[in-house]
């Protein structure tokens, strides 16, 4: 047991970990992806360099765009820094601000970020940015029921809907892990994350054809530091979603059980490691399937919905 | 007596073997002999089962099974005779030998499976036998190899198999119900189930009964899963249609009856009767309405079968002993009457080359024997005296009134009258209305096709006027087995 770290510092460390690690995790995934496709790929640290370059560039705004266009990236960033305070990023025990919001609350904050970006995109008058924004909102609306049912599952399993409580329940015994409701809920969440992070089969992550774009098209008109913040934000969103899936649902191990400095350091490393493993898995999925046509995305979401609904069903007889 | 049971379940298989080599005459003869022997053996069983159930290994015959066995074997025999005439006309076609071989193999297998079903001791074996009747008859429906036959066979096999899937679920749930009392090594035989009676878990038996009514009801032709029935009946070769309508539906109804027996033993009669009444009335209503506007002769008769299955179901639902007796009599009389009607329709279709009731005219002029016989068959189906169906429906109605089911009984009478209207209008038009420029030449296609109709008519009259004493005893015993009087 090393020297204890003050709890507010850990709280801050959660947000900082996400902030700092997010571009790195994206870099690793991009690297693995290019290797899977037989390319050499960029350096793992490339996203940091990109961000650095973008921050040094001047910012331009389209004619007629109002202050919302410029504030939105900041707002989104703020949202992405708030969510890590609510979820178990580094510790098994709830930190004081963990009670600010439950899973649903975290979801709302994420949705707010997405809303801000969409409004900014709508400000531009660029057809592609608006297309991306409206699509993102449409598919966001149909993934919403899935998320709700996952939340119901969590609520039924733990009796609360605090993410810390579910992580604790999963850790408590093997029978909590094999129960179908838990597995189904986790699978549904994985599908939602694929959709939300713009992965195949919903969207080509690195594609350049605007017609198939959803998430990627939204920051088309932003530039310089604003574009940097949007990219950084989407990397953070990815890491946050990964963290929720890993630390709440599928592998809530390796977290700091006490506020010791060593424990927290281990937890940071463990989190990054686990997220990279998940990222590699997603990269493999990305390379194994074809992108769905835009109108087939509802089928993908229907599959996720099915899993989430079944999770709630199986809980009905206490058999889930 | 056990040797009779064994013979009944093996003879048709032997005639299947005889039909394998392609000699048509031989297989016709063997089929005929087997069928007549089967009828004889079934009659021999009557006095025995009136005393007590006959058992041998997995075979078991009580009064209830013999009633259905009689219907099946009678129709089997009549069909065997009729088929000789039916096939005669095809003799010139290329590929006749192949067709005839398939026909005989199929017909005998079909008859075998339907004779086995009532003789099986246990719900699981019963399900297996009924499933075999389905697959064999599906192949027979497709025998004519036309587009329509292929369509009808596909719809039939799909719907009936799906229904029987539900029937299997019913069997399994019933096994579960039985195993909670009788231990897990028990094989769903009837006697222990009936003895266990009210000690069985109620909800499970309830579930099993409803599943059985829906599942086997698909094959009985109960609403709303009757849709395969008119297609299959109208597209199958006529002898097969007759057996489908007269026996297959009855055999499936027998399965429902067995579940009723167990369910009413466990739950008391209230619940199962209500379920049957609901399904029966809806079925009858639907059939009566369809009968009014049916122009295809064989489909007309098919809907009449749906109607009669509705009557049977209502009869059990009414629950009075008199109604039970009526139902059992109805099973046999319906087999004879519907057999006759299909036989007659087959001759008409042969003669005129169409199934359209709007085109067929002046039958009384062209078919001196078949036309009156068909008329009598239709009258019998409409429950006119002095035929057997009059007696049976009268008993059902009387039972309903006695059992304080006035409303249902009135509905029954009204709907049966409606059905009578539909049937008789279509038939009288074909028989009595003269016209049509190019009528076929006067004369019967084959005496073989007339003979079974005469026999059927005799049976109908005997059943209607004065059933033999042994037969009445059989029915009385069957009523007792169904729990009549409680």
């Amino acid at each position: 047991m090393s020297t204890p770290v003050p709890v507010p510092v850990i709280q801050l460390a959660q947000a900082l970990t996400v902030l700092v690690a997010a571009p790195g995790v994206s870099g690793v995934i991009a690297r693995v992806e290019s290797r899977l496709q037989g390319r050499r790929g960029t350096r793992v640290l490339q996203p940091y360099y990109d961000l650095g370059k973008l921050f040094r560039k001047e910012a331009l705004a389209p004619d007629g765009a109002s202050w919302v266009f410029l504030v939105a990236p900041l707002g989104a960033m703020a949202c992405y820094l708030t969510v890590p305070l609510l979820i178990p990023v580094l510790t098994t025990f709830p930190l004081p601000l963990g009670y600010l919001g439950d899973i649903l609350g975290g979801g709302f904050v994420l949705a707010l970020a997405s809303f801000a970006v969409a409004v900014a995109a709508a400000e531009t008058g660029s057809p592609y940015a608006q297309l991306g924004a409206s699509r993102a909102k449409t598919f966001g609306a149909i993934t919403e029921p899935v998320v709700l049912f996952v939340v119901f599952t969590v609520a039924l399993v733990t009796g609360t809907d605090l993410p810390y409580a579910l992580a604790e329940t999963v850790r408590s015994s093997a029978e909590q892990i094999v129960r179908p409701a838990h597995l189904l809920g986790a699978a549904a969440l994985l599908l939602v994350i694929l959709a939300e992070t713009g992965r195949i089969p919903v969207e080509t992550h690195t594609g350049t054809t605007e017609f198939g774009m959803i998430e990627q098209a939204r920051p088309f008109e932003h530039s310089g530091p604003y574009f940097a913040m949007l990219s950084w934000g989407s990397a953070m969103k990815q890491l946050i979603l990964f963290t929720i899936l890993i630390n709440v649902f599928i592998a809530p191990w390796g977290l700091a059980a006490s506020p010791g400095a060593g424990d927290v350091a281990v937890a940071v490393v463990a989190l990054v490691g686990k997220c990279i493993v998940l990222g590699v898995l997603i990269a493999v999925i990305d390379n194994s399937f074809a992108k769905l046509r835009l109108f087939k995305i509802t089928e993908f979401v229907a599959a996720a919905f099915l899993l989430a609904v079944l999770a709630v069903f199986t809980l009905y007889f206490g058999g889930g | 007596m056990s040797v009779v049971l064994v013979l009944l379940t093996t003879l048709p298989l032997l005639s299947v073997l005889a039909a394998l080599p392609a000699r048509v005459r031989i297989s016709e003869t063997v089929t005929l002999c087997t069928a007549l022997a089967g009828l004889g053996l079934a009659i021999v069983l009557v006095p025995a089962v009136v005393r007590e159930p006959v058992r041998f290994g997995i075979l078991r015959a009580d009064a209830l099974s013999v009633v259905f066995l009689l219907g099946t074997t009678f129709l089997y025999a009549a069909t065997a005779v009729y088929s000789i005439g039916y096939l005669n006309a095809e003799r010139e076609h290329p590929g006749f030998a192949r067709y005839a071989r398939r026909f005989h193999i199929g017909l005998n297998l079909f008859a075998w499976s339907m004779m086995c079903a009532p003789l099986m001791d246990g719900l699981a074996l019963l399900w297996i036998a009924v499933e075999i009747t389905t697959v064999v008859s599906a192949l027979l429906v497709a025998l004519d190899d036309t587009d329509n036959a292929a369509e009808a066979a596909w719809k039939y096999v799909l719907l009936a198999s799906a229904g029987l899937g539900i029937g299997l679920l019913a069997t399994i749930v019933m096994y579960y119900a039985g195993s909670t009392v009788l231990g897990s090594s028990y094989d769903v035989a009837f006697a222990p189930l009936l003895t266990a009676g009210s000690t069985l878990p109620h909800t499970a038996v309830q579930l099993a009964f409803v599943l059985a009514v829906v599942g086997f009801g698909t094959k009985v032709g109960l609403f709303p899963v009757h849709t395969w029935l008119p297609d299959a009946h109208s597209e199958a070769p006529t002898p097969v249609s007759a057996m489908l309508s007269g026996s297959l539906l009855a055999v499936s109804f027998y399965a429902v009856l067995r579940y009723y027996q167990v369910a009413s033993g466990t739950l008391g009669p209230g619940f199962p009767r209500t379920v049957l009444l609901v399904f029966g009335v809806l079925t009858l209503l639907l059939a009566a309405l369809y009968l009014l506007e049916q122009r295809d002769l064989k489909r007309l008769l098919a809907y009449s079968s749906v109607e009669h299955m509705g009557i049977l179901t209502i009869g059990i639902g009414l629950g009075a002993p008199l109604a039970f007796a009526g139902v059992l009599l109805h099973v046999i009389a319906h087999a004879a009457a519907k057999g006759n009607a299909f036989f007659g329709a087959g001759v008409l279709v042969r003669k005129y080359g169409t199934k359209d009731t709007g085109t067929i005219r002046s039958c009384l002029d062209t078919l001196p024997w078949t036309a009156p016989l068909l008329l009598f068959a239709i009258l019998a189906l409409s429950a006119m005296p002095p035929f057997g169906l009059f007696r049976s429906e009268f008993q059902i109605v009387a039972g309903g009134l006695a059992g304080a089911h006035d409303t249902v009984t009135v509905v029954l009478v009204v709907l049966v009258t409606l059905a009578f209207l539909g049937l008789s209008v279509a038939t009288t038009r074909m028989l009595f209305v003269r016209g049509g420029a190019d009528l076929p030449v006067r004369g019967e296609p084959s005496a073989w096709m007339v003979a079974p109709m005469v026999a059927g008519l005799l049976v109908l009259i005997v059943l209607g006027v004065h059933p033999p004493a042994d037969f009445s005893d059989l029915l009385a015993r069957g009523v007792a087995e169904l729990g009549g009087g409680t």
């Binding site: 709830p94 399993v157 009905y316 007889f317 | 009808a152 899937g165 399994i172 579930l207 489909r299």
Partner: protein, 230 residues
């Protein structure tokens, strides 16, 4: 830090055995949904094989944990029949027919899935009313098997080609097998074998009729099966 203590309102976990068994049953239901979604006939047959494999696997799990040795034989037989023979027969027929893609169903895929979810929910909650409990498997597995059966019906209704409809029937039988594992695990082996044999006969007849259909209409679609109406 009381929030982390087990909440009385929470649904207690079913235990490792029941959880695994239910998980397998859930997978059976999911494969049923997968059949509803697949458009390639070949893939559909493979999904059916996978589903049968899951049912056999569940039989083995029950046999091991509940010590019912007959179930090993049953699992082996159903493996041979439903995972190997039946898919092989259907695939051979498909090769002969030369058709790859099923015509689209009567509904869009997403609406099909939603309809099936609704139907499955009905079956699930209806089963709950009957309180059929069994020593072999938890009640949830029974409810899931009923859901499988109902979704198989949806499959048979909305799909418009003979192969999908036949697969729908076969998978309906898988659902019944699942149910029989729950409530009738101790059923005499001879009966189970007879059921399987019966299935084989049905498969052969389905195959024959599918071939008849294909020969007559030059396709596997049932869209043109509309002559017999009224």
């Amino acid at each position: 830090m009381n929030v982390l203590a087990a909440d009385p309102a929470a649904v207690a976990p079913p235990g490792v055995y029941a959880g695994v068994a239910n998980g397998l049953a859930v997978l059976v239901l999911l494969t049923e949904f997968a059949m509803l979604r697949t458009t390639l006939l070949r893939a559909q047959v493979r999904v059916y094989a996978a589903q049968s494999l899951l049912v056999s696997l569940l039989a083995v799990v029950v046999a091991v944990v509940r010590d019912v040795p007959e179930l090993y034989a049953l699992a082996g037989l159903s493996l041979a029949l439903k995972v190997i023979v039946v898919p092989w027969l259907v695939l051979r027929m498909l090769r002969a027919a030369g058709t790859e893609i099923a015509g689209s169903g009567a509904l869009g895929v997403a609406s099909e899935v939603l309809l099936a979810v609704a139907v499955a929910a009905f079956g699930f909650f209806a089963t709950g009313r009957f309180h059929v409990t069994s020593p072999a498997l938890p009640e949830t597995a029974l409810a899931l098997s009923v859901a499988v059966i109902l979704v198989a019906f949806v499959l048979m209704i909305v799909r418009r080609d003979v192969v999908s409809q036949a697969i729908g029937f076969f998978s309906l039988e898988n659902g019944v097998s699942l149910a029989s594992l729950v409530v009738a695990a101790g059923m005499p082996l001879i009966l189970e074998v007879a059921f399987l044999f019966d299935l084989l006969v049905a498969v052969v007849v389905f195959g024959v009729l599918m071939q008849v259909h294909h020969r007559r209409s030059e396709s596997l679609s049932t869209r043109n099966l509309t002559k017999l109406r009224e």
